[in-house]
């Protein structure tokens, strides 16, 4: 009367396919692209999406001849035996993909939500959910995703938007730096993930208006492609290509570091995990659904007397048991993983591509085929339970690390000390002994140990001190914990933006990327309060000594990470610079390579100078004012040049952090210094060119 059973609308098809495509691919593609195409991943995405779109065109060309289901069509075109063979191939594909998805699904759940729970229990719950979902047929499945669509995509877009703030566009460059094989491999991987679009063939019998299937599929493909592009750029800009290539599920990790501005929640990763929960469930459910309907059809030939409903139930049960077994194999054996990856690359994906192509050849769709082959072939060819109660837990706010050797056992001892469970989720600050920061091996070892302890938040601030325990002991006099005090200082009190302070996540990334100059605050006790007067510098992962607060502040200002920068010039003029949008360029003059920092910001005089400036503005002529502008700008430039120049020449520390920008601005130098990065600072001279928009002068 109202809704015809077993039929879905175009919108439902679009949303269903979007979910099928989104889950697995957003989890896996960024890491693979970080490893293969790296900074050119965006092109790999474009090529992969383009190839998938052409593949969709091939699928579309089959539609006119498909009266009933795809299985019937296969039998009609290839004969009973040929059809059954291909259907068996698809069945195998679905069972393996469902098993792989279920394994990943359970693994992500265990990693992100339930670290101490049993894999088998989680897997069982997921498969029972899938079984219940299958019970309602295609309509029930389609309705879930139709309803959830915007409820999940809007938070995803919101989080991506919030994550833009932490993106360093320098990590995007240099483009076209990956080799052809890397881009091809990345493209093939993107295509491999998106080739799931072939599910639209199986939807034919369920969609009310057949012409809407491929429109919906194109829409889903473009939307998912767009999300991939945006997500990849954000991930690349947040973690850097090298670190991205080593991360397990970078999109989920990103969610743990992003905080919605003005939001009440400290971290939203647990909530945002819902996106992958529902999208992975969609793919798992789809694979089980189509797998069981294929098996039911195949069983129809073997058990013709069995009632269709009973046959479907048997098929569903058999598929779910097989999926459970496959997932357990992935969990138990790494070899299964390697084998499946090989199978997916070399057999499964070519299979789902080639079958429709063969059918399309039969229908003499040669033009489509030729076009598809021209563009898609290169990709193919080149591819090589409940924890402790709240009151029974301790929430360490700050942590002192005195000795790397002891850190491994320190966690264990701390947890065994007393009758409370340690919950590190609110760890704000980690105070590391100066000796560790100064020793590259010790630092690497510490980071290795810390990374193993996954519950440590990536956004924990790292500071250095001569005596970490003494710094922690200041809590008694402060009336609050040192961790909270320092966090408040870094995030709200200081004029330095919080992104300037290194966190545990930054150190993990930098250990692999080795492009940044990090300034670790060096905390000392001053009148019972922890204060930062110096910063310990880590230059591309190497310890580089300490710099004073004035040098570090200049570095932060140069990197546009200061709200307001106040400096006293040699003639006593006090200047406040704000809203910086500085740029860095490279040039060579008389054989000397120069880093040119073009300072653009607003400026005003403050203190006793302010009134004098105001009077001058009222009485002086335009020319005098312009001269005054030039004089102060020159003095500011001189101050910056002196400070940055000294730091560069004496300590080999580039306050502009220009190394990470080389790829985008000076490609030739970038390639040159990839091999001899240690010489970079020695070859360079730093020049500040200042252009201030004066407010009260």
């Amino acid at each position: 009367m109202f809704s015809e059973n077993n039929k879905i609308s175009g919108r439902q098809t679009f949303r269903l396919l979007t979910y099928d495509l989104l889950g697995l691919s957003t989890l896996l593609v960024p890491t693979v692209l970080g490893r293969t195409a790296a900074r050119d991943g965006i092109f790999a995405i474009a090529i992969g999406v383009g190839a998938a779109w052409l593949y969709l065109k091939v699928l579309k060309s089959l539609a006119p001849g498909m009266g009933g289901s795809y299985a019937q069509y296969l039998e009609q075109r290839l004969g009973k035996a040929g059809g059954a063979l291909i259907q068996t191939g698809y069945l195998l594909y679905f069972v393996l993909l469902a098993g792989y998805t279920a394994y990943l699904f359970a693994d992500v759940v265990l990693q992100e939500l339930l670290r101490e729970e049993s894999f088998y229990l989680v897997l069982l719950i997921l498969l029972l959910l899938a079984a219940y979902g299958l019970w309602g047929g295609i309509e029930g499945r389609a309705r879930i995703y139709e309803m959830l669509f915007w409820f999940l995509l809007i938070p995803l877009f919101l989080m991506l938007f919030s994550a833009v703030d932490g993106v360093q566009t320098d990590y995007w460059t240099p483009v076209f730096s990956a080799d052809f094989a890397g881009i091809a491999e990345g493209s093939y991987y993107v295509f491999l993930c998106l080739s799931v679009i072939f599910l639209s063939l199986f939807l034919g019998e369920y969609v009310e208006k057949k012409e809407s299937i491929f429109r919906a599929a194109s829409g889903a493909l473009l939307l998912v492609g767009g999300i991939h592009a945006v997500l990849y750029l954000i991930l690349l800009g947040s973690f850097g290509a090298d670190a991205l290539g080593t991360m397990d599920y970078p999109a989920v990790t990103l969610m743990s570091t992003v905080q919605i501005t003005g939001g009440f929640l400290k971290r939203t990763d647990a909530f945002m995990f819902g996106i992958w929960f529902f999208t992975l469930y969609a793919l798992l459910n789809s694979c089980c659904f189509y797998g069981s309907s294929l098996l039911s059809g195949i069983l129809g030939g073997v058990m013709p007397k069995t009632e269709e409903k009973a046959r479907k139930r048997w098929a569903m049960g058999a598929v779910l048991v097989a999926v459970f077994a496959v997932s357990c194999c992935f969990y138990k054996s790494r070899a299964c993983f390697v084998w499946y990856e090989w199978f997916l690359w070399h057999i499964a994906t070519p299979f789902v591509v080639i079958v429709p192509l063969i059918l399309a050849i039969g229908r003499r769709q040669k033009r489509v085929l030729a076009l598809a082959l021209c563009l898609a072939a290169p990709c193919l060819v080149c591819a090589g339970c409940a924890t402790a109660e709240l009151e029974d837990r301790n929430f360490p706010i700050e942590l002192a690390v005195e000795n790397t050797d002891a850190i491994g056992t320190a966690f264990g001892e701390a947890e065994g000390d007393g009758n409370r469970v340690l919950d590190y989720s609110h760890l704000k600050v980690m105070v590391i002994h100066r000796d560790i920061v100064e020793n590259k091996e010790a630092m690497q070892k510490l980071l290795d140990l810390l990374e193993e302890k996954r519950e440590l938040p990536r956004n924990t601030y790292i500071v250095a001190a001569d005596d970490p325990e003494k710094i922690l002991a200041l809590s008694d006099g402060l009336g609050e914990s040192v961790g909270n005090y320092l966090e408040e200082q870094f995030e709200n009190v200081s004029q330095i933006k919080k992104q300037a302070y290194p966190t545990l996540g930054t150190l993990y990334q930098e250990r692999i990327n080795q492009t940044e100059t990090l300034y670790i605050p060096y905390v000392d006790d001053e009148d019972g309060k922890p204060v930062v007067r110096q910063y310990y510098v880590l230059k591309r992962g190497e310890p580089a000594g300490t710099v004073g607060g004035d040098a570090a502040v200049l570095a932060f200002f140069t990197d546009n990470r200061m709200e307001e920068y106040q400096l006293s010039l040699s003639d006593g003029t006090q200047v406040s610079l704000s809203s910086p949008h500085n740029e860095i360029a490279f040039r060579e003059r008389a054989g000397q390579r120069e880093i040119v920092v073009q300072v653009h910001c607003s400026g005003e005089l403050f203190g006793t100078q302010q009134n004098a400036a105001s009077n001058r503005r009222n009485t002086a002529g335009q020319e005098q004012i312009a001269q005054e502008h030039a004089r102060i700008e020159q003095a500011v430039a001189s101050y910056m040049n002196t400070l940055a120049g000294q730091t560069l020449s004496e300590q080999g520390i580039d306050l502009s952090g220009s190394y990470r920008r080389l790829g985008g601005a000076a490609r030739g130098w970038y390639q040159e210094y990839q091999k001899k990065s240690a010489r970079y600072e020695g070859d360079m001279r730093i020049v500040y060119e200042v252009d201030i928009d004066w407010v009260n002068l």
């Binding site: 009367m1 109202f2 809704s3 609308s9 175009g10 919108r11 439902q12 759940v109 939500l113 339930l114 729970e117 989680v122 719950i125 959910l129 219940y132 979902g133 019970w135 309602g136 309509e139 029930g140 499945r141 389609a142 309705r143 879930i144 139709e146 309803m147 959830l148 743990s256 009440f264 929640l265 400290k266 971290r267 939203t268 990763d269 647990a270 909530f271 995990f273 819902g274 929960f277 529902f278 469930y281 339970c385 409940a386 924890t387 402790a388 109660e389 709240l390 009151e391 837990r393 929430f395 706010i397 919950d423 989720s425 609110h426 704000k428 938040p457 909270n484």
Partner: protein
């Protein structure tokens, strides 16, 4: 302009027209009788049964008076309005007479007289109609259904005065022989829907039907679902509104609760005054109710998931105050939540069963004394009291009691699964509920309309769900109405 039929001098013709106009309106009484001193003048009296008191009224006096006159004297008395009735009205067409009848008065046709006379009587029942106990509104009628099926039908007719409102009477209950009315708008309700309802009503035999709830439970497709698949209302205006949407109202004698079918999730969230208030406030309140329905089910579970598993979500200061509040409480958080929830349910149950004045006392005893004492005795933490109170507020904000009950029950499921599996449990629970809802249908209408399958009504239903668009844009009837008759509003300016 619609064609009108003049009243004929031939009584048989008039009777035929009236019968045609009011066919299958079993609540409208049509009586043929003879008047005049020789009993030779045929007449036809029609009225809505409950609206006219035949035992003690002007109508009885009039009939007695006419019984003493000859044929000519009757015509004379009628034409000169010598009936001694102050506001007798004369109609010259069948349609006008029909409208007169629907105002709740008796209509008299006399053979050989080419006009119908409206004789005023008690009219529609209004005395004895009480305020609806549930589904309170700020704006709009406060009338509620009564225990009389006939009065209830009249209350609907009072609001929709159209001969197209049809009433089909049935008797249910082998021994109780309860009167059940199916009220619908001809031309709007799907004939297939009526057939399906009648098929379901024929699908069971029971000793007695003492309330519409019995019919509801025996006719539902998915009897095991906690979600009601029939909507209930105690408000005649809500029922009238539903009839105009093409839905069918099932009235059962002795029950002030009418069943509306088919229904969907969205209909349970809507209230009558959503359409009486301006669209901005109506939309705001509706979104609030949607959020309330979500939190009524999930909030205690989310609290347990966050405090036991995912403490990183909360700001540190808030987390510390949660931990401080819990220190000294002897029970695990899940037991604490369950104790409070069960206490609340107990108080609620006690409040419902007790007479009005004592129910208020229970509220005070429960809320103030027990709650405060429990916190002071360190049996529960203040934060749990806040969580449970907020959950209770959310469940009260759901307009339909039966619907709210589903969330109240599912809340315990969420408490269990979130205490066991944290946020993963929450997601599993949410997906289970969603799968279940996506499988539910009410007489073929997907339960999640118009979140899903909105294409069935060209996406027009999306104008009136999470947020209600201005009334002037809601020109189309929802999915329940027949496809070729869905326009309900035409702006003439």
């Amino acid at each position: 302009m619609a064609k009108k039929t003049a009243i004929s001098k031939n009584l048989s013709e008039n009777i035929a027209h009236m019968e045609e106009l009011f066919h299958t309106c079993d609540d409208i009484k049509k009586k043929q009788m003879n008047i005049g001193k020789d009993g030779d003048v045929a007449c036809y009296l029609t009225f809505i049964e409950v609206a006219v008191d035949m035992g003690n009224s002007a109508l009885l006096e009039l009939l007695k008076y006419l019984r003493g006159l000859s044929r000519e004297e009757i015509y004379e008395a009628l034409s000169s309005n010598a009936l001694a009735i102050s506001d007798a009205t004369y109609f010259t067409t069948i349609e006008e007479a029909g409208d007169g009848l629907l105002t709740g008065e008796a209509i008299l046709f006399v053979d050989g007289f080419d006009q119908a006379v409206k004789i005023p009587d008690d009219g529609y029942p209004n005395m004895g109609v009480n305020e609806a106990d549930s589904e309170k509104v700020v704006r709009g009628s406060n009338e509620g259904f009564t225990d009389s099926v006939k009065q209830n039908a009249a209350l609907i007719r009072k609001r929709v005065r159209s001969p197209q409102v049809k009433v089909r009477e049935r008797k249910l209950g082998v021994r109780s022989k309860t009167n059940v009315y199916l009220v619908y708008m001809e031309g709007l309700a799907y004939p297939g829907l009526l057939k399906e309802i009648e098929k379901r009503l024929d699908g069971f035999e029971i000793d007695g039907v003492l309330d519409s709830g019995v019919i509801e439970q025996l006719s539902e497709e998915k009897w095991y679902s906690p979600f009601p698949q029939f909507q209930t209302t105690e408000r005649p205006d809500r029922a009238a509104m539903s009839i105009l949407e093409g839905r069918v109202i099932l009235l059962s004698d002795n029950s002030p609760v009418a069943l509306i079918l088919p229904t969907d999730y969205d209909s349970f969230i809507k209230t009558s005054d959503d359409y009486y208030n301006r669209w901005e406030i109506a939309s705001f309140e509706r979104i609030l109710r949607y959020a309330a329905s979500f939190f009524a089910m999930t909030l205690p579970g989310i609290y347990l998931a966050v405090t036991n598993f995912h403490t990183q979500i909360l700001p540190t200061t808030l987390l510390m105050s949660f931990a401080d509040a819990r220190s000294g409480v002897p029970f695990p958080a899940v037991i604490e939540v369950l104790i409070m929830e069960l206490s609340f349910e107990l108080l609620r149950e006690a409040g419902v069963r007790l007479p009005g004045a004592m129910a208020n006392t229970i509220g005070i005893v429960g809320g103030l004394i027990i709650g405060q004492a429990a916190v002071e005795a360190n049996l529960v933490s203040p934060i749990v009291v806040i969580v449970i109170s907020f959950t209770a507020l959310c469940s009260f904000a759901i307009p339909n009691e039966e619907f709210a009950t589903a969330f109240r029950l599912l809340k315990f499921f969420f408490i269990g699964i979130c205490a066991w599996l944290g946020f993963f449990g929450f997601l599993v629970g949410l997906l289970l509920v969603l799968i279940h809802l996506s499988h539910l249908k009410s007489f073929g209408v997907p339960y999640l309309m118009p979140f899903v399958a909105a294409d069935l009504n060209d996406y027009e239903d999306e104008r009136d769900f999470l947020w209600r668009q201005p009334l002037r844009l809601l020109w189309k009837r929802p999915i329940f109405a027949r496809k070729n008759n869905r326009r309900k509003l035409r702006i003439k300016r």
